[in-house]
Symmetry: C2
Subunit: 265 residues, 2 copies
Protein backbone atom coordinates (compact mmCIF):
# COMPACT_ATOMS: atom_id res chain seq x y z
CA UNK A 1 0.00 0.00 0.00
CA UNK A 2 1.34 3.45 -0.85
CA UNK A 3 2.10 5.62 2.14
CA UNK A 4 0.27 8.95 2.36
CA UNK A 5 2.79 11.76 2.70
CA UNK A 6 1.79 15.37 3.28
CA UNK A 7 4.98 16.65 4.93
CA UNK A 8 7.76 18.42 3.05
CA UNK A 9 10.22 17.07 5.60
CA UNK A 10 9.45 13.41 4.89
CA UNK A 11 12.61 11.45 4.11
CA UNK A 12 11.42 10.09 0.77
CA UNK A 13 10.33 13.56 -0.30
CA UNK A 14 13.75 14.92 0.65
CA UNK A 15 15.48 12.05 -1.10
CA UNK A 16 13.58 12.58 -4.36
CA UNK A 17 14.11 16.30 -4.12
CA UNK A 18 17.84 15.77 -3.65
CA UNK A 19 18.07 14.00 -7.01
CA UNK A 20 17.89 17.37 -8.72
CA UNK A 21 21.53 17.69 -7.63
CA UNK A 22 24.29 15.83 -9.41
CA UNK A 23 26.14 14.91 -6.23
CA UNK A 24 23.09 13.20 -4.77
CA UNK A 25 22.39 11.42 -8.07
CA UNK A 26 25.92 10.11 -8.08
CA UNK A 27 25.95 8.96 -4.46
CA UNK A 28 22.47 7.41 -4.70
CA UNK A 29 22.97 5.98 -8.18
CA UNK A 30 19.46 7.18 -9.00
CA UNK A 31 17.91 9.79 -11.28
CA UNK A 32 14.53 11.44 -11.56
CA UNK A 33 12.02 11.03 -14.39
CA UNK A 34 8.78 12.98 -14.46
CA UNK A 35 5.45 12.33 -16.05
CA UNK A 36 3.45 9.38 -17.24
CA UNK A 37 4.72 9.50 -20.80
CA UNK A 38 8.39 9.09 -19.92
CA UNK A 39 7.78 6.64 -17.08
CA UNK A 40 5.55 4.47 -19.30
CA UNK A 41 8.32 4.49 -21.92
CA UNK A 42 10.72 3.30 -19.23
CA UNK A 43 8.36 0.50 -18.19
CA UNK A 44 7.96 -0.62 -21.81
CA UNK A 45 11.75 -0.87 -21.98
CA UNK A 46 11.81 -2.98 -18.81
CA UNK A 47 12.71 -0.25 -16.31
CA UNK A 48 10.63 0.26 -13.19
CA UNK A 49 11.29 3.09 -10.73
CA UNK A 50 12.72 2.28 -7.31
CA UNK A 51 10.89 5.20 -5.75
CA UNK A 52 7.54 6.52 -6.96
CA UNK A 53 5.65 9.62 -5.92
CA UNK A 54 2.24 10.51 -7.25
CA UNK A 55 -0.80 12.58 -6.50
CA UNK A 56 -4.34 11.39 -6.87
CA UNK A 57 -5.67 14.95 -6.98
CA UNK A 58 -7.60 14.96 -10.24
CA UNK A 59 -7.57 11.16 -10.49
CA UNK A 60 -4.87 8.64 -11.39
CA UNK A 61 -4.57 7.51 -15.00
CA UNK A 62 -5.13 3.73 -15.40
CA UNK A 63 -1.67 3.35 -16.95
CA UNK A 64 -0.13 5.20 -13.99
CA UNK A 65 -2.02 2.87 -11.63
CA UNK A 66 -0.61 -0.10 -13.49
CA UNK A 67 2.96 1.19 -13.29
CA UNK A 68 2.62 2.13 -9.62
CA UNK A 69 1.36 -1.37 -8.84
CA UNK A 70 4.15 -3.01 -10.84
CA UNK A 71 6.80 -0.85 -9.14
CA UNK A 72 5.35 -1.67 -5.73
CA UNK A 73 5.29 -5.40 -6.49
CA UNK A 74 8.92 -4.97 -7.51
CA UNK A 75 9.80 -3.55 -4.08
CA UNK A 76 9.66 0.16 -4.86
CA UNK A 77 9.07 2.77 -2.21
CA UNK A 78 5.73 4.31 -3.25
CA UNK A 79 4.27 7.47 -1.78
CA UNK A 80 1.04 9.25 -2.47
CA UNK A 81 1.44 12.94 -1.90
CA UNK A 82 0.15 16.41 -2.73
CA UNK A 83 0.59 18.49 -5.89
CA UNK A 84 2.46 21.05 -3.75
CA UNK A 85 5.05 18.51 -2.70
CA UNK A 86 5.38 17.23 -6.27
CA UNK A 87 5.98 20.82 -7.35
CA UNK A 88 8.75 21.11 -4.83
CA UNK A 89 10.35 17.87 -5.97
CA UNK A 90 10.24 18.64 -9.68
CA UNK A 91 11.03 22.34 -9.44
CA UNK A 92 8.37 23.06 -12.04
CA UNK A 93 5.33 25.25 -11.71
CA UNK A 94 3.17 22.71 -13.49
CA UNK A 95 4.50 19.50 -12.04
CA UNK A 96 3.70 16.10 -13.43
CA UNK A 97 1.47 14.06 -11.14
CA UNK A 98 3.86 11.10 -11.32
CA UNK A 99 7.57 11.06 -10.49
CA UNK A 100 9.92 8.11 -10.43
CA UNK A 101 13.49 7.57 -9.31
CA UNK A 102 15.31 5.11 -11.54
CA UNK A 103 18.60 3.28 -11.13
CA UNK A 104 21.36 4.82 -13.26
CA UNK A 105 22.70 2.35 -15.82
CA UNK A 106 26.36 1.37 -15.98
CA UNK A 107 27.99 3.83 -18.38
CA UNK A 108 31.20 1.88 -18.91
CA UNK A 109 32.27 1.84 -22.55
CA UNK A 110 32.84 -1.92 -22.20
CA UNK A 111 29.05 -2.32 -21.97
CA UNK A 112 28.56 -0.97 -25.50
CA UNK A 113 27.91 -3.64 -28.12
CA UNK A 114 28.62 -1.69 -31.30
CA UNK A 115 27.09 -4.43 -33.44
CA UNK A 116 23.66 -3.55 -32.05
CA UNK A 117 23.26 -0.58 -34.37
CA UNK A 118 24.92 0.84 -37.50
CA UNK A 119 24.92 4.33 -36.00
CA UNK A 120 26.22 5.73 -32.73
CA UNK A 121 26.31 9.32 -31.58
CA UNK A 122 29.36 10.62 -29.75
CA UNK A 123 29.33 14.00 -27.97
CA UNK A 124 32.46 15.76 -26.79
CA UNK A 125 32.36 18.23 -23.88
CA UNK A 126 28.71 19.08 -24.48
CA UNK A 127 27.70 21.46 -21.70
CA UNK A 128 23.96 21.90 -22.15
CA UNK A 129 21.85 19.13 -20.58
CA UNK A 130 18.99 20.10 -22.92
CA UNK A 131 21.25 19.38 -25.88
CA UNK A 132 22.18 15.98 -24.43
CA UNK A 133 18.51 15.07 -23.96
CA UNK A 134 17.58 16.33 -27.42
CA UNK A 135 20.42 14.32 -28.99
CA UNK A 136 19.20 11.21 -27.17
CA UNK A 137 15.70 11.82 -28.55
CA UNK A 138 17.13 12.29 -32.04
CA UNK A 139 19.21 9.13 -31.63
CA UNK A 140 16.10 7.15 -30.81
CA UNK A 141 14.25 8.58 -33.81
CA UNK A 142 17.04 7.77 -36.23
CA UNK A 143 17.70 4.28 -34.87
CA UNK A 144 21.05 4.97 -33.23
CA UNK A 145 22.34 2.55 -30.64
CA UNK A 146 23.17 5.18 -28.09
CA UNK A 147 25.19 8.17 -27.06
CA UNK A 148 28.82 8.10 -25.95
CA UNK A 149 29.80 11.11 -23.87
CA UNK A 150 33.44 12.16 -24.18
CA UNK A 151 35.35 14.30 -21.67
CA UNK A 152 33.35 16.64 -19.42
CA UNK A 153 29.77 16.65 -20.61
CA UNK A 154 26.62 17.75 -18.84
CA UNK A 155 24.99 14.98 -16.82
CA UNK A 156 22.66 12.89 -19.02
CA UNK A 157 20.74 11.97 -15.86
CA UNK A 158 19.93 15.55 -14.89
CA UNK A 159 16.26 16.49 -14.78
CA UNK A 160 16.73 18.80 -17.80
CA UNK A 161 18.35 16.09 -19.93
CA UNK A 162 15.77 13.47 -18.96
CA UNK A 163 12.96 15.89 -19.84
CA UNK A 164 14.45 16.81 -23.21
CA UNK A 165 15.05 13.14 -24.04
CA UNK A 166 11.30 12.48 -23.82
CA UNK A 167 12.04 8.94 -22.66
CA UNK A 168 14.86 8.20 -25.10
CA UNK A 169 17.14 7.97 -22.10
CA UNK A 170 15.60 4.54 -21.58
CA UNK A 171 15.92 3.37 -25.19
CA UNK A 172 19.40 4.69 -25.97
CA UNK A 173 22.51 3.20 -24.42
CA UNK A 174 24.64 5.76 -22.62
CA UNK A 175 28.38 5.52 -22.10
CA UNK A 176 30.97 7.96 -20.82
CA UNK A 177 34.73 8.00 -21.35
CA UNK A 178 37.76 10.22 -21.75
CA UNK A 179 39.00 10.68 -25.31
CA UNK A 180 42.05 8.33 -25.15
CA UNK A 181 39.92 5.59 -23.62
CA UNK A 182 37.26 6.06 -26.29
CA UNK A 183 39.83 5.95 -29.12
CA UNK A 184 41.39 2.76 -27.77
CA UNK A 185 37.97 1.13 -27.52
CA UNK A 186 36.91 2.36 -30.97
CA UNK A 187 40.03 1.08 -32.72
CA UNK A 188 39.66 -2.29 -31.10
CA UNK A 189 36.79 -3.04 -33.48
CA UNK A 190 35.07 -1.85 -36.62
CA UNK A 191 33.80 1.67 -36.93
CA UNK A 192 34.13 4.86 -38.96
CA UNK A 193 34.63 7.95 -36.85
CA UNK A 194 33.05 10.97 -38.55
CA UNK A 195 33.61 14.50 -37.31
CA UNK A 196 32.23 17.80 -38.51
CA UNK A 197 34.76 20.51 -39.20
CA UNK A 198 35.03 23.88 -40.87
CA UNK A 199 38.46 22.93 -42.18
CA UNK A 200 37.51 20.23 -44.70
CA UNK A 201 36.27 20.34 -48.27
CA UNK A 202 34.18 17.17 -47.92
CA UNK A 203 30.53 18.14 -48.05
CA UNK A 204 28.39 15.98 -45.75
CA UNK A 205 26.11 15.13 -48.67
CA UNK A 206 28.85 13.79 -50.95
CA UNK A 207 30.67 11.16 -48.91
CA UNK A 208 30.24 7.50 -48.04
CA UNK A 209 29.32 6.61 -44.51
CA UNK A 210 30.33 3.16 -43.33
CA UNK A 211 28.69 0.95 -40.72
CA UNK A 212 29.02 1.19 -37.85
CA UNK A 213 29.30 4.95 -38.09
CA UNK A 214 30.29 6.96 -35.02
CA UNK A 215 29.17 10.57 -35.39
CA UNK A 216 31.26 12.92 -33.31
CA UNK A 217 29.68 16.20 -32.18
CA UNK A 218 31.88 18.85 -30.57
CA UNK A 219 31.36 21.35 -27.80
CA UNK A 220 28.72 24.07 -28.29
CA UNK A 221 31.23 26.93 -28.32
CA UNK A 222 34.51 25.47 -29.52
CA UNK A 223 33.52 22.53 -31.67
CA UNK A 224 36.01 19.66 -31.64
CA UNK A 225 39.50 20.25 -30.23
CA UNK A 226 41.95 20.69 -33.12
CA UNK A 227 44.01 17.67 -32.07
CA UNK A 228 40.94 15.42 -32.07
CA UNK A 229 40.18 16.06 -35.73
CA UNK A 230 43.10 14.04 -37.20
CA UNK A 231 41.84 11.00 -35.31
CA UNK A 232 38.64 11.00 -37.36
CA UNK A 233 38.36 8.67 -40.36
CA UNK A 234 36.32 11.29 -42.14
CA UNK A 235 35.82 14.99 -41.62
CA UNK A 236 32.81 16.58 -43.27
CA UNK A 237 31.32 20.01 -43.32
CA UNK A 238 27.74 21.12 -43.40
CA UNK A 239 28.01 24.08 -45.71
CA UNK A 240 26.30 27.22 -44.48
CA UNK A 241 24.30 29.49 -46.73
CA UNK A 242 23.88 32.40 -44.33
CA UNK A 243 26.08 34.60 -42.22
CA UNK A 244 26.57 32.14 -39.39
CA UNK A 245 29.36 29.57 -39.46
CA UNK A 246 27.87 27.15 -36.97
CA UNK A 247 24.74 25.32 -35.96
CA UNK A 248 23.32 24.54 -32.56
CA UNK A 249 25.09 21.31 -31.50
CA UNK A 250 21.88 19.26 -31.25
CA UNK A 251 20.81 20.54 -34.68
CA UNK A 252 24.17 19.62 -36.24
CA UNK A 253 23.91 16.15 -34.70
CA UNK A 254 20.44 15.68 -36.16
CA UNK A 255 21.27 16.96 -39.64
CA UNK A 256 24.26 14.60 -39.76
CA UNK A 257 22.46 11.60 -38.28
CA UNK A 258 19.49 11.88 -40.62
CA UNK A 259 21.80 12.32 -43.61
CA UNK A 260 23.82 9.23 -42.64
CA UNK A 261 20.62 7.22 -42.39
CA UNK A 262 19.32 8.65 -45.67
CA UNK A 263 22.58 7.70 -47.44
CA UNK A 264 22.05 4.06 -46.45
CA UNK A 265 18.57 3.77 -47.98
CA UNK B 1 30.42 60.62 -23.91
CA UNK B 2 28.93 57.61 -22.13
CA UNK B 3 27.40 58.36 -18.77
CA UNK B 4 28.85 56.48 -15.79
CA UNK B 5 26.06 54.67 -13.97
CA UNK B 6 26.54 52.79 -10.73
CA UNK B 7 23.01 52.89 -9.40
CA UNK B 8 20.50 50.08 -9.81
CA UNK B 9 17.72 52.64 -9.70
CA UNK B 10 18.96 54.60 -12.71
CA UNK B 11 16.21 55.03 -15.31
CA UNK B 12 18.18 53.55 -18.21
CA UNK B 13 19.11 50.55 -16.08
CA UNK B 14 15.47 50.06 -15.15
CA UNK B 15 14.40 50.49 -18.76
CA UNK B 16 16.86 47.89 -20.07
CA UNK B 17 15.95 45.54 -17.24
CA UNK B 18 12.26 45.91 -18.08
CA UNK B 19 12.88 44.55 -21.59
CA UNK B 20 13.07 41.08 -20.13
CA UNK B 21 9.27 41.33 -19.93
CA UNK B 22 7.12 41.00 -23.01
CA UNK B 23 4.77 43.81 -22.04
CA UNK B 24 7.61 46.31 -21.77
CA UNK B 25 9.10 45.07 -25.04
CA UNK B 26 5.79 45.63 -26.73
CA UNK B 27 5.16 49.09 -25.31
CA UNK B 28 8.75 50.25 -25.92
CA UNK B 29 9.08 48.53 -29.28
CA UNK B 30 12.55 47.44 -28.22
CA UNK B 31 14.27 44.17 -27.41
CA UNK B 32 17.48 43.18 -25.67
CA UNK B 33 20.53 41.54 -27.23
CA UNK B 34 23.52 40.49 -25.17
CA UNK B 35 27.15 40.03 -26.02
CA UNK B 36 29.61 41.29 -28.55
CA UNK B 37 29.07 38.43 -30.98
CA UNK B 38 25.36 39.03 -31.48
CA UNK B 39 25.62 42.82 -31.38
CA UNK B 40 28.44 42.79 -33.95
CA UNK B 41 26.29 40.57 -36.15
CA UNK B 42 23.50 43.15 -35.83
CA UNK B 43 25.84 45.98 -36.77
CA UNK B 44 27.08 44.05 -39.81
CA UNK B 45 23.44 43.75 -40.88
CA UNK B 46 22.95 47.48 -40.44
CA UNK B 47 21.30 47.49 -37.02
CA UNK B 48 22.65 49.68 -34.24
CA UNK B 49 21.27 49.59 -30.70
CA UNK B 50 19.24 52.55 -29.42
CA UNK B 51 20.45 51.95 -25.89
CA UNK B 52 23.83 50.46 -24.99
CA UNK B 53 25.18 49.37 -21.62
CA UNK B 54 28.69 48.10 -21.12
CA UNK B 55 31.31 47.58 -18.48
CA UNK B 56 34.96 48.41 -18.91
CA UNK B 57 35.96 46.11 -16.06
CA UNK B 58 38.45 43.81 -17.75
CA UNK B 59 38.83 46.14 -20.72
CA UNK B 60 36.63 46.88 -23.70
CA UNK B 61 37.17 44.90 -26.91
CA UNK B 62 38.13 47.14 -29.87
CA UNK B 63 35.11 45.91 -31.83
CA UNK B 64 32.86 46.77 -28.88
CA UNK B 65 34.44 50.25 -28.74
CA UNK B 66 33.72 50.69 -32.42
CA UNK B 67 30.08 49.66 -32.05
CA UNK B 68 29.58 51.83 -28.95
CA UNK B 69 30.99 54.83 -30.81
CA UNK B 70 28.82 54.15 -33.87
CA UNK B 71 25.70 53.78 -31.71
CA UNK B 72 26.49 56.97 -29.85
CA UNK B 73 27.06 58.87 -33.12
CA UNK B 74 23.68 57.53 -34.18
CA UNK B 75 22.01 59.08 -31.14
CA UNK B 76 21.93 56.05 -28.82
CA UNK B 77 21.74 56.36 -25.07
CA UNK B 78 25.06 54.85 -23.92
CA UNK B 79 25.90 54.02 -20.33
CA UNK B 80 29.02 52.61 -18.78
CA UNK B 81 28.16 50.56 -15.75
CA UNK B 82 29.26 47.77 -13.43
CA UNK B 83 29.29 43.99 -13.98
CA UNK B 84 26.78 43.73 -11.08
CA UNK B 85 24.29 45.96 -12.84
CA UNK B 86 24.81 44.12 -16.13
CA UNK B 87 24.10 40.88 -14.27
CA UNK B 88 20.86 42.32 -13.00
CA UNK B 89 19.84 43.47 -16.47
CA UNK B 90 20.62 40.21 -18.24
CA UNK B 91 19.43 37.87 -15.49
CA UNK B 92 22.48 35.68 -16.07
CA UNK B 93 25.18 34.75 -13.58
CA UNK B 94 27.88 35.29 -16.18
CA UNK B 95 26.61 38.37 -17.93
CA UNK B 96 27.97 39.66 -21.17
CA UNK B 97 29.89 42.93 -20.79
CA UNK B 98 27.87 44.53 -23.59
CA UNK B 99 24.09 44.84 -23.84
CA UNK B 100 22.06 46.61 -26.47
CA UNK B 101 18.39 47.47 -26.89
CA UNK B 102 17.30 47.28 -30.51
CA UNK B 103 14.19 48.52 -32.29
CA UNK B 104 11.77 45.65 -33.07
CA UNK B 105 11.20 45.25 -36.79
CA UNK B 106 7.77 45.45 -38.35
CA UNK B 107 6.43 41.87 -38.37
CA UNK B 108 3.59 42.47 -40.82
CA UNK B 109 3.27 39.70 -43.38
CA UNK B 110 2.99 42.38 -46.06
CA UNK B 111 6.67 43.15 -45.46
CA UNK B 112 7.73 39.68 -46.59
CA UNK B 113 9.13 39.55 -50.12
CA UNK B 114 8.90 35.82 -50.84
CA UNK B 115 11.10 36.17 -53.92
CA UNK B 116 14.08 36.96 -51.69
CA UNK B 117 14.66 33.28 -50.86
CA UNK B 118 13.53 29.88 -52.14
CA UNK B 119 12.90 28.68 -48.58
CA UNK B 120 10.85 30.08 -45.73
CA UNK B 121 10.19 28.56 -42.34
CA UNK B 122 6.74 28.78 -40.82
CA UNK B 123 6.10 27.87 -37.18
CA UNK B 124 2.66 27.32 -35.75
CA UNK B 125 1.94 27.86 -32.04
CA UNK B 126 5.54 27.20 -31.04
CA UNK B 127 5.74 27.79 -27.29
CA UNK B 128 9.43 27.53 -26.49
CA UNK B 129 11.45 30.71 -27.15
CA UNK B 130 14.61 28.57 -27.32
CA UNK B 131 13.06 26.63 -30.21
CA UNK B 132 12.17 29.89 -31.99
CA UNK B 133 15.72 31.15 -31.63
CA UNK B 134 17.22 27.83 -32.71
CA UNK B 135 14.96 27.73 -35.78
CA UNK B 136 16.08 31.27 -36.69
CA UNK B 137 19.70 30.14 -36.40
CA UNK B 138 18.97 27.09 -38.56
CA UNK B 139 17.15 29.29 -41.07
CA UNK B 140 20.20 31.50 -41.40
CA UNK B 141 22.48 28.48 -41.86
CA UNK B 142 20.31 26.96 -44.56
CA UNK B 143 19.73 30.22 -46.42
CA UNK B 144 16.06 30.68 -45.56
CA UNK B 145 14.51 34.10 -45.98
CA UNK B 146 12.95 34.19 -42.57
CA UNK B 147 10.49 32.78 -40.09
CA UNK B 148 6.75 33.34 -40.17
CA UNK B 149 5.08 32.80 -36.81
CA UNK B 150 1.51 31.56 -36.97
CA UNK B 151 -1.06 31.83 -34.17
CA UNK B 152 0.20 32.15 -30.58
CA UNK B 153 3.95 31.60 -30.60
CA UNK B 154 6.56 32.48 -28.01
CA UNK B 155 7.99 35.97 -28.47
CA UNK B 156 10.91 35.92 -30.95
CA UNK B 157 12.22 39.07 -29.25
CA UNK B 158 12.48 37.48 -25.80
CA UNK B 159 15.95 37.28 -24.28
CA UNK B 160 15.90 33.47 -24.59
CA UNK B 161 15.00 33.51 -28.28
CA UNK B 162 17.56 36.20 -29.09
CA UNK B 163 20.24 34.20 -27.28
CA UNK B 164 19.39 30.94 -29.04
CA UNK B 165 19.31 32.68 -32.42
CA UNK B 166 22.98 33.64 -32.02
CA UNK B 167 22.35 36.77 -34.05
CA UNK B 168 20.19 35.18 -36.75
CA UNK B 169 17.37 37.36 -35.45
CA UNK B 170 19.09 40.15 -37.36
CA UNK B 171 19.60 38.21 -40.61
CA UNK B 172 16.25 36.44 -40.83
CA UNK B 173 13.04 38.29 -41.58
CA UNK B 174 10.36 37.74 -38.96
CA UNK B 175 6.64 37.95 -39.55
CA UNK B 176 3.62 37.06 -37.45
CA UNK B 177 0.07 36.30 -38.52
CA UNK B 178 -3.01 34.25 -37.74
CA UNK B 179 -3.57 31.19 -39.91
CA UNK B 180 -6.34 32.58 -42.18
CA UNK B 181 -4.32 35.73 -42.81
CA UNK B 182 -1.23 33.67 -43.63
CA UNK B 183 -3.16 31.40 -46.02
CA UNK B 184 -4.67 34.37 -47.85
CA UNK B 185 -1.22 35.94 -48.22
CA UNK B 186 0.39 32.65 -49.28
CA UNK B 187 -2.20 31.90 -51.97
CA UNK B 188 -1.83 35.37 -53.38
CA UNK B 189 1.52 34.34 -54.86
CA UNK B 190 3.71 31.39 -55.64
CA UNK B 191 4.68 28.91 -52.97
CA UNK B 192 4.48 25.28 -51.93
CA UNK B 193 3.25 24.78 -48.38
CA UNK B 194 4.87 21.65 -46.91
CA UNK B 195 3.75 20.20 -43.59
CA UNK B 196 5.03 17.24 -41.62
CA UNK B 197 2.45 14.72 -40.57
CA UNK B 198 2.22 11.23 -39.16
CA UNK B 199 -0.76 10.54 -41.40
CA UNK B 200 0.91 10.55 -44.79
CA UNK B 201 2.82 7.93 -46.75
CA UNK B 202 5.09 10.46 -48.46
CA UNK B 203 8.57 10.08 -47.07
CA UNK B 204 10.40 13.41 -46.80
CA UNK B 205 13.30 11.99 -48.84
CA UNK B 206 11.22 10.92 -51.82
CA UNK B 207 9.27 14.00 -52.85
CA UNK B 208 9.83 17.12 -54.95
CA UNK B 209 10.12 20.43 -53.17
CA UNK B 210 9.22 23.50 -55.20
CA UNK B 211 10.49 27.06 -54.87
CA UNK B 212 9.58 29.00 -52.93
CA UNK B 213 8.99 26.31 -50.34
CA UNK B 214 7.22 27.18 -47.08
CA UNK B 215 8.06 24.62 -44.41
CA UNK B 216 5.37 24.44 -41.76
CA UNK B 217 6.39 23.27 -38.29
CA UNK B 218 3.69 22.50 -35.74
CA UNK B 219 3.40 22.99 -32.00
CA UNK B 220 5.82 21.07 -29.76
CA UNK B 221 3.13 18.92 -28.14
CA UNK B 222 0.31 18.69 -30.65
CA UNK B 223 1.98 19.13 -34.01
CA UNK B 224 -0.21 20.79 -36.63
CA UNK B 225 -3.95 21.15 -36.00
CA UNK B 226 -5.79 18.49 -37.99
CA UNK B 227 -7.73 21.07 -40.00
CA UNK B 228 -4.53 22.85 -41.06
CA UNK B 229 -3.10 19.76 -42.76
CA UNK B 230 -5.48 19.73 -45.77
CA UNK B 231 -4.34 23.26 -46.60
CA UNK B 232 -0.82 22.01 -47.26
CA UNK B 233 0.27 21.34 -50.84
CA UNK B 234 2.39 18.47 -49.61
CA UNK B 235 2.42 16.45 -46.42
CA UNK B 236 5.53 14.46 -45.67
CA UNK B 237 6.69 12.28 -42.85
CA UNK B 238 10.10 11.82 -41.34
CA UNK B 239 10.04 8.10 -40.66
CA UNK B 240 11.15 7.13 -37.19
CA UNK B 241 13.35 4.14 -36.52
CA UNK B 242 13.01 4.04 -32.74
CA UNK B 243 10.23 3.97 -30.20
CA UNK B 244 9.42 7.65 -30.35
CA UNK B 245 6.95 9.03 -32.85
CA UNK B 246 8.12 12.61 -32.79
CA UNK B 247 11.15 14.86 -32.87
CA UNK B 248 11.89 18.06 -31.03
CA UNK B 249 10.27 20.83 -33.11
CA UNK B 250 13.54 22.65 -33.82
CA UNK B 251 15.15 19.35 -34.83
CA UNK B 252 12.28 18.48 -37.19
CA UNK B 253 12.53 21.93 -38.74
CA UNK B 254 16.26 21.48 -39.33
CA UNK B 255 16.02 17.97 -40.75
CA UNK B 256 13.35 19.16 -43.19
CA UNK B 257 15.10 22.42 -44.11
CA UNK B 258 18.43 20.76 -44.81
CA UNK B 259 16.74 18.03 -46.85
CA UNK B 260 14.86 20.59 -48.92
CA UNK B 261 18.12 22.40 -49.61
CA UNK B 262 19.91 19.12 -50.40
CA UNK B 263 17.18 18.13 -52.85
CA UNK B 264 17.82 21.32 -54.84
CA UNK B 265 21.54 20.67 -55.39
Amino acid sequence: MPRQITSFSNDTVKRLRSLRDKKARRSEGLFLAEGLRIIAEARDEGHLPEIVAYSSAGGVHPLAQEIIAAAEANGADVIETTPEILTKMSGKDNPQMLLGAFRQPDVALAKVDRGRSPLWLVAQALRDPGNIGTILRTGDAVGAGGLILIDDCADPFSVEAVRASMGALFTQQIAAARWPEFLAWLRNGEGQLVGTSLKTEHDYLGVTYEKPCFLLIGNEQQGLPADYEPECDLLVKISMSGRADSLNAAIAAAVMAFQVRASWR
